[in-house]
Point group: C2
Chain length 338, copies 2
């Protein structure tokens, strides 16, 4: 089928065109063998338990905004896009540089984009990028902006508790970017869906960083580190994802067989295996960069999208599904026509 | 003039209707007299220096999300709106509850809105509400949602450094909410403008709370407290605001005389006086709640909007201007037809 046939079936098509993507990684690479030694585990333990060969961890000097600016720059250079042609910069990271001001202002300061560029942060934990892409499409169609850069950069390594295997074995750092325009109406969003289930709000968290745990209200060291309740999180997510994905498909007017590429959040080895089995799709149709990146929080989905683009798995007439589960607990999904 | 005449003059009108507003304040009230005693200052010093009679400071047990839920509830009750009719909850606060997950998920958990409601945070420091209102309008017009609640709640008191007069004398806590629909096309946004000048990114900040200053990268007590460079901030903002407001007006097709009500960020006594003089508007046309609230960070603009609504200064055929300067340094402005 061609894009225009898909468009006719969608309940609420929103035109948008991804004109470039990019990514960035910090220098420091942490292999599972190194981690076995660091944690006094037998050879092969970390690889087997996490499914990760290596991931990237920045040193403590690297600024999150600089990493974001690198990913933005990569997206600009790959398709000869002038920095001054971007009229809005959206930061779609789960983690911030600091409590105030917001991260997009820091990224603008670190970037080659000019003064006056509009900026804002959107935050939906690990699925921020999906929501940001829908917002960008709506803004472009309203005439508010002409060309928008969406950037996610995460330094999850700053919040790792090495005494907690569940979180410390999976998170990696990184950044990614997508640049979008309205396009000619032949590409865009066939369906978008987001749902939050607050029963899971405490299942994955970092308690410090805001008004809850701080110098005035009190804080302890562990408040600065990831706290994960993996089992109940996975249980709640698994019980709801089926209905969620059916709804997402139904809104698009597509069947599962119409989806050529799935760009999932790289949450965990288990979550990716679960999706592979459930969707019954060819191995190469599921973008899986987990083994060499780990879970990059909000940077995972745009990094996986960038991988899809550079490996020719994001192309016209081939609908793609972006989907993920995030701390909140929040599901977000989008079926998009490249 | 009538709304439809104004609409014809706008370059890019976006329909949206504010169907209710609400606000909430914590119990604790801090008067300037109490503060004089606390800081060992002569009687009247704090009032004279800050222009504030009293503001509200929550005790350290109060949760930011609960205060947000109170403001949301106020907006629901005032116009008999069913919680289940809200299909998106946007948090437009500058400060977060915690580093992860995002604040809107916490607000949903504290609210009477049902499970599955979509949620996200948008952050542009003190002008978050203006950007959120533009996003909400774009989402409503794209068909993504039908009725959106925008909530801002701030507990700036958790970050006060009592040794720094510039910040500790002005910030107050509070929350406010606006509920919006697409409406019938007779009300909406005549113009919206946002600009970020990263030269001012460090002029108002809290360094902790993210990847920059924390348990791993290092942190000190003062990283958790507001740091303000008031003079250069005011100088940079003053040098740019004129051109910014002219542009905002030009996009709307209106003249300054057409603006019936100005809803400014309640940044400081000085900033409000500056605006009053510059705009040459009647006293009652400028919404000024600063004397009894202080600077409520991202909650100031929606709190002032709520004040405009309940004092009948936000009405059809009377264009209103929302405008503010925020840590970033970012300007945001909107001319809206009630």
């Amino acid at each position: 089928m061609h894009n225009n046939q898909f468009i006719q079936q969608a309940k609420n098509f929103i035109p948008v065109k991804i004109i470039s993507t990019g990514a960035a990684l910090p220098e420091g690479k942490l292999t599972s063998e190194e981690l076995d030694r660091k944690l006094n585990k037998p050879n092969g333990y970390c690889l087997k338990r996490s499914g990760i060969e290596y991931r990237y961890h920045a040193d403590y000097q690297l600024n999150q905004a600089d990493l974001a600016a690198q990913a933005l720059n990569d997206a600009l250079i790959r398709n000869d896009i002038l920095p001054e042609s971007i009229d809005l910069l959206i930061c779609a990271s789960a983690l911030k540089v600091q409590a105030l001001p917001y991260t997009a202002a820091h990224i603008l300061a670190a970037s080659t984009l000019p003064d006056k560029t509009a900026t804002f942060d959107v935050n939906v934990s690990c699925v921020s990028f999906i929501t940001a892409l829908n917002l960008a499409a709506c803004l472009l169609n309203s005439g508010s902006y002409k060309r928008i850069a969406i950037v996610a950069a995460e330094l999850a390594s700053r919040g790792l508790n090495w005494e907690d295997e569940e979180s410390s074995l999976i998170f990696g750092d990184g950044a990614a970017c997508a640049i979008v325009e309205r396009g000619d109406g032949q590409s865009g969003i066939l369906s978008f869906l987001q749902e939050t289930y607050p029963a899971g709000v405490d299942f994955c968290q970092i308690k410090a960083g805001g008004t809850r745990r701080n110098l005035r209200a009190g804080m302890e060291d562990h408040d600065f580190l990831f706290q994960m309740d993996g089992k109940p999180l996975f249980r709640l997510a698994s019980s709801l994802i089926e209905v969620f994905m059916s709804k997402l498909l139904q809104l698009s007017g597509l069947r599962l067989e119409d989806i050529a590429t799935v760009v999932p959040h790289q949450a965990s080895h288990l979550s990716l295996e679960h999706m592979r089995k459930r969707l019954k799709i060819a191995n190469e149709a599921l973008i899986d960069i987990y083994r060499f990146r780990g879970n990059q929080v909000g940077a995972s989905i745009p990094s996986a999208l960038h991988e899809a683009v550079i490996t020719s798995r994001f192309q016209a007439n081939n609908p793609a599904m972006l989907v993920g589960t995030a701390a909140g607990l929040t599901f977000a999904g989008m079926i998009v026509l490249p």
